[in-house]
């Protein structure tokens, strides 16, 4: 049934939002990971933000070891057969040998595996990893699990990173993370059943009763409830959450919502079970690239941007090698290689011109595919879209409980 072999589609399938993979993992990992989590939870202790000199103190004695163990999501780096061209270039240019592992398939589960090790100050087996912004990443920062980055060693990031991805609210001044790739949360719809959509209000349109998809993730769904009311999630208060909760409850009680989906909304949309849904840009890009007639919009009221972030665990054995890699991928040339394969938003916006240049050189199908990437607002969002994008609210543990108590009864009532 999943005969499509497009790698980025598979990347989508194996992403955190994939119900199949996620549930498969949980079936096997529930008890073990859960117990590990329980065990470590007790040891969890918040640390204060690192003082200014923590960076100098940490990095002062670090040496380049010529080795790097990198944990990433599956199919989230350019691949040519069994080779990884960008990693090979990195190895040639820097002399650092990379051990690449597709270890991250679901953030809560991955966090569950590494947390007890980090709490006990043990090596997790990786020097560099990719974590999506959200509750677990915020917890990792709060618990002092991530190395503070030495930005004097990240000149390419400073020069080439898109200003929109710098200084995110969940990690001020990129103190611990820099983006690897990202995506948008907006609305996708099937034009066969639905007229042009511009507004979040269409998710509340009674015409689409029982054909509306919303997301199971409480932060995602809460954001859309807030956008519908003109509230910026990033600046929201508990009172705003309650209003958004009411708004979302109306939608649910009216029978509009078919289901609160994980990544499986994509299949439901393609099959016609739902006509209009909250959606992640990369998923819809893939479907469109395969010839499906679907549309993706960032609604007038706003959409969210999320990023998968490079970060160094505090028990990294080769932190300097990791930092060198982090800067290396911010060269436009490398960012281009990555985005042409990954098809998610690159943090290096100048990559667009390079993709177009590659397209000019290419022919036939390859040319069309590259042009599609360069021109897609799902991979290179327009200025107007960017202006509408907001970030997830960073929740501290006390707020998280209140937040979940408001929105979880809606998604899992």
């Amino acid at each position: 049934m999943y005969s499509r072999t497009n790698p980025a589609f598979l990347r989508g399938m194996t992403q955190s939002r994939s119900v199949t993979r996620r549930d498969a993992l949980r079936l096997g990992g529930m008890s073990a990971a859960g117990l590990a989590l329980a065990a470590c939870g007790v040891q969890g202790k918040k640390v204060e933000a690192p003082p200014q000199d923590a960076v100098a103190e940490y990095w002062g004695s670090k040496k380049k070891n010529g080795r790097l163990r990198f944990a990433n999501w599956p199919l989230y780096i350019d691949k040519d057969g069994k080779r990884y061209p960008s990693l090979e270039m990195f190895e040639t240019d820097t002399g650092i040998k990379v051990t690449y592992t597709e270890a991250v398939q679901d953030i809560p589960t991955f966090f569950g595996k590494i947390q007890p090790l980090l709490a006990a100050n043990n090596d997790i087996g990786y020097d560099l990893m990719v974590l999506t912004n959200g509750l677990q990443l915020s917890k990792a920062i709060a618990l002092g699990y991530l190395v503070p980055l030495d930005h004097s060693k990240l000149p390419n990031f400073a020069a080439n990173a898109n200003s929109a991805v710098k200084n995110p609210t969940w990690d001020p001044n990129n103190a611990h993370t820099i983006p690897w790739a990202g995506g948008l949360t907006g609305i996708a719809y099937n034009p066969k059943y639905v007229d042009e959509v511009k507004s979040i209000a269409d998710l509340w349109n009674p015409k689409y009763k029982g054909k509306v998809g919303m997301m199971l993730d409480t932060q995602e769904v809460a954001n859309f409830g807030m956008f519908a009311l003109g509230i910026d999630p990033d600046k929201s208060t508990e009172a705003d959450w309650r209003k958004a909760g009411e708004k979302l409850k109306q939608q649910r009680d009216a029978g509009l919502v078919r289901k609160y989906y994980e990544n499986d909304y994509v299949d439901a949309l393609v099959r016609g079970d739902i006509w209009i849904t909250m959606a992640w840009s990369g998923d819809i890009f893939q479907q469109v690239a395969e010839g499906k007639d679907l549309r993706f919009v960032v609604p007038e009221e706003g959409g969210t941007i999320w990023t998968d972030n490079l970060c160094i665990p505090k028990t990294s054995q080769n932190p300097l090698d990791a930092l060198i890699f982090m800067d290396y991928v911010y060269q436009p040339k490398i960012a281009t290689m990555l985005v042409e394969y990954i098809n998610y938003i690159t943090p290096v916006s100048s990559a667009k011109d390079l993709v177009l240049a590659d397209a000019a050189k290419a022919t036939g199908k390859k040319k069309a595919a590259l042009e599609q990437i360069a021109e897609s607002p799902m991979i290179f969002p327009s200025e107007t879209d960017m202006a509408k994008l907001r970030s997830y609210k960073k929740l501290d543990p006390g707020e998280e409980k209140v937040f979940e108590d408001i929105f979880q009864p809606i998604t899992q009532g």
Binding site: M1, D23, A24, G41, K139, L143, G413
Partner: protein, 283 residues
């Protein structure tokens, strides 16, 4: 040595259970009464109110899960009993082939089997689209994201666990006993209700144990086939644990679920006549 033998036999399994079942359970019990969060750490405060709070907060999902488990169990018995009966008494020398067919779905991943329902039963899928275009079903009819889909998925996934124990019980019924009943002027129906059925009840009991408990705690079917009104307690526990990292609530919910099911099963055993059942099952 001879006196030690029985203990040595139980040692590996006993150790296994002690280490991987009892220790974590004790640990979980301790976690359930702790307070705190993953960032600031948890501290033992013997906060037993979490049990009441969690139960109140999620009573809908508890009742729903019990209801689904019950209905799915009854449907499973209705489907499994005739099948097991047919294989046991009419299967002839192909019995093992039929049993293999019953077990065949296990060779495909549980999750994948359930996901495949989504393709089969899609609103405009291979099953519903022809019926809709023939005018036999209204346009907005759907199966996915309904209670029917979730219970159907549960039955589908756990049916073999009901068939096998009933089959084993029926297989042990000596056909000569039935003949004897008939010799003594029992009608075929009486021979069944008075002889075969009582003899097979331990199998049904074992089947109920093996299906009701996992079906009630299941979260895959509700997650994949269910809609907003079908969330089961298993889904809640999963979310509390893995997404919210609210271990005390998750642990309290797990223990409450376990206690409720134990009570239910013992009540059921009692109603059936415990000693009879256990004796017969052990035979």
């Amino acid at each position: 040595m001879k006196r030690l033998a029985p203990y040595l036999l139980i040692l590996p399994g006993g150790l296994w259970l002690a280490i991987f079942l009892v220790v974590p359970m004790v640990f979980m019990a301790s976690v359930s009464t702790q307070e705190g969060d993953v960032v600031n750490g948890f501290a033992q405060t013997f906060n037993f109110s979490v049990y009441g709070d969690a139960l109140m907060q999620y009573k809908t999902q508890f009742l729903r899960s019990a209801g689904y488990g019950l209905v799915a169990t009854v449907v499973s018995i209705a489907l499994a009993y005739p099948m097991a009966y047919w294989i046991a008494f009419k299967g002839g020398n192909r019995k093992s082939t039929y049993l293999l067919l019953v077990l065949l779905p296990f060779f495909v991943s549980f999750v994948l089997r359930t996901v495949s329902w989504r393709f089969l039963l899609a609103d405009d899928g291979m099953l519903l689209a022809p019926l809709k275009s023939a005018g036999l079903l209204p346009e907005d009819f759907h199966v996915l994201q309904t209670t029917f889909a979730v219970i159907g998925g549960l039955v589908y996934n756990y049916l073999p666990f009901m068939i096998l124990p009933i089959y084993v019980a029926l297989e042990r019924v000596d056909p000569k006993v039935v003949e004897a009943a008939q010799d003594l002027y029992a009608a075929r129906r009486e021979a069944f209700t008075k002889i075969v059925l009582p003899l097979s009840l331990p199998g049904v009991f074992a089947g109920v144990l093996m299906t009701f408990v996992p079906m009630t705690a299941d979260y895959v079917n509700a997650g994949i086939l269910g809609g907003p009104e079908n969330t089961m307690i298993g889904n809640i526990i999963q979310t509390e644990y893995l997404v919210n990292n609210d271990y005390p609530t998750a642990a309290a919910l797990s223990f409450t679920l376990m206690a409720a099911m134990l009570i239910g099963i013992f009540a059921y055993a009692k109603a059936l006549g415990t000693e009879n059942v256990l004796e017969a099952a052990a035979r």
